[in-house]
Amino acid sequence: MADDIHKVLPTCHLQRLLDALSAKGYRVVGPTVRDGSVVWEPIRFVSDLPIGWRDHQEPARYRLEQTGSQDIFGVVHGPQSLKPFVFAPREPLLKIERTKDGFATRPMTPQPEKVAVIGARACDLAGLAVQDRIFLNDAYRDPYYAARREGLFLIAVNCTRALSTCFCASMETGPRAKTGFDLALTEVDDRLLIQVGSEAGRHVLEGISLSPASDELIGEGATCIDTCARSQVRRLDHARLPQALYDAHEHPRWDDVAGRCLACTNCTMVCPTCFCHTVEETPDLSHQQTAQARLWDSCFTQEHGYIHGKNIRPTIKDRYRMWLTHKLASWIDQFGMSGCVGCGRCITWCPVGIDLTEELSALLTSGSRSSVTSPQVEGS
């Protein structure tokens, strides 16, 4: 279905789509400008969107500027991916109350809510697919994630402009949204090309009278996306992963990057796929009731590798190596897919501008003095 139906909506009529979503009972969320960056907020009107804004991203730099244009989706992305919508930064798990038999637990599973996100990028959809694999398609299905995921309606926007930090083309995750969306938009001048990706997407469009898109416009949109792909200046060479990174375990570059890394956890917080979490227990003062919640955690913290009395990864070198090796190598063994989708957020939001594409390249090309046996991993 995704390839079949293409419609066109003049940009000035985007409000009709927002209204159609509201009429179908969706809470609509989109990119908005706040405190100098773009974040997801509830929106009611097209004017809530960052019209005329553009983002510039470089290692350790994020800047918004007004261009004076009428482009609605000129901003590529902010620090948030789709992750917070499904894997909540703080998720109440259980309420536990003392009873005469001991205690009783009550799951705090969220009620599914219809949320339509407009402006998701291809890398965000790819990140969501990774999280789906982890939380929904393993031995245990996470009921909290599942409840949040159920009501999500996704309106992707194909990228026609790449940031200097983007490398989705080399990860084959973008800049075109291929799967996982209900609707996908491509902004071509003053028109929005709309592609239908699901039955729910088709259903939403039923309420709006739209013209079919001409082949010419479809071709124009495709050209814009291809140009965006070709303009990407960063790439990640994953051909020899995971083994090449396992072999680089003793590479001197780890010392080099550890000297720069602050272990601030920013890269893991902005990553669309990082899933580490910890559980927090909050008893009340009378100790009759207690609540469990899970919070995002990061492998860059001291506590992450703690095991009674010792720390498995005591140095920043250990922790950066853990993160990069997991993200780009062991993730593939664990889930059959890369843990990196090429969004470049970890590069932008690293306060000292560490660039994982640059680090991987250095780790794979020179100075290797690997002395350890190559691991034999099942299925690799």
Binding site: L93, L94, I96, R98, D101, G102, F103, A104, T105, R106, P107, T109, I134, D138, A139, Y140, R141, P143, P242, Y246, H249, F275, C276, H277, T278, V279, E281, P283, H287, T290, Q292, R294, D297, H304, G305, Y306, I307, H308, G309, I312, R313, P314, K317, D318, R319, R321, M322, H326, A329, S330, D333, Q334, V372, T373, S374, P375, Q376, V377, E378, S380
Partner: protein
Amino acid sequence: MSKADSIVNPYAIHPATIVEKLREAEDINTYRLQFVDEPMQRRFRFKAGQFNMIYLFGVGEVAISIVSDPDQPEFLDHTIRAVGRITKAIAGLQPGDVLGVRGPFGQGWPLEEARSRDVVIVTGGLGCAPVVGAIEYIFRRRAQYGSVKILHGVKAPHDLLYRERFDVWRRSPDTEVLLSSDQPDKSWRYHIGVVTELFELVSIDPLKTIVLMCGPEIMMRLGVPILIRRGIPATAIYVSLERHMECGIGLCGHCQMGPYFVCKDGPVMRYDRVEPWLGRTGV
């Protein structure tokens, strides 16, 4: 909480009463638990080598291996050393108090694969706990297994748990039990030294043998190569590993070792699969 919730929610915690508390050593106790919910008690099944998340109200959870016999699921025993925030608080509990249980989780010992083979069990310190259930399992089916050799090392004699069990096992047919201590006192009647020295004191038919090993990682790193030099294939050696486990189901990310989640791919893992990672720093 309804039954349906408890089935679909892997985070659901089931209250269990401490029916017996057995002091094993100064800071180690074995707790016999019984689920408050009787149907839960009836349906709870586990494999030797699996673990439960043990929960203390208002404090938190900790991963503890199951010590009891999988053929007697009416007993659920956990041996716990008071070593961290949660386990120290658990040490103050008495029979009648209630803990929470979530599980069982993880891969157990390969007891089917071990059938008709000789079994060598190598443990150090509290590492003997996760194999107790495996030994009981084998002894209930004694004719189906070859010789059993139990090699157990402790630092000091007072670290020796399950003394009576070792005595019972020693008297079983075609079974050898060898103990060692590297900081013995005058009462110690067994070997003096580290557990790997016991390898020299037993005869092993390397191609007929399967090894189950649990203890500090250093014991495995140093011990397994000796066994391999004696001709036991790395594919016939199983180790039970320990990492920080918070969720027990491969979601929280803490227990990773290389490409594995120790909670779901382990804690029992075939040695050849983990060998590249065991000796690596920061993994």
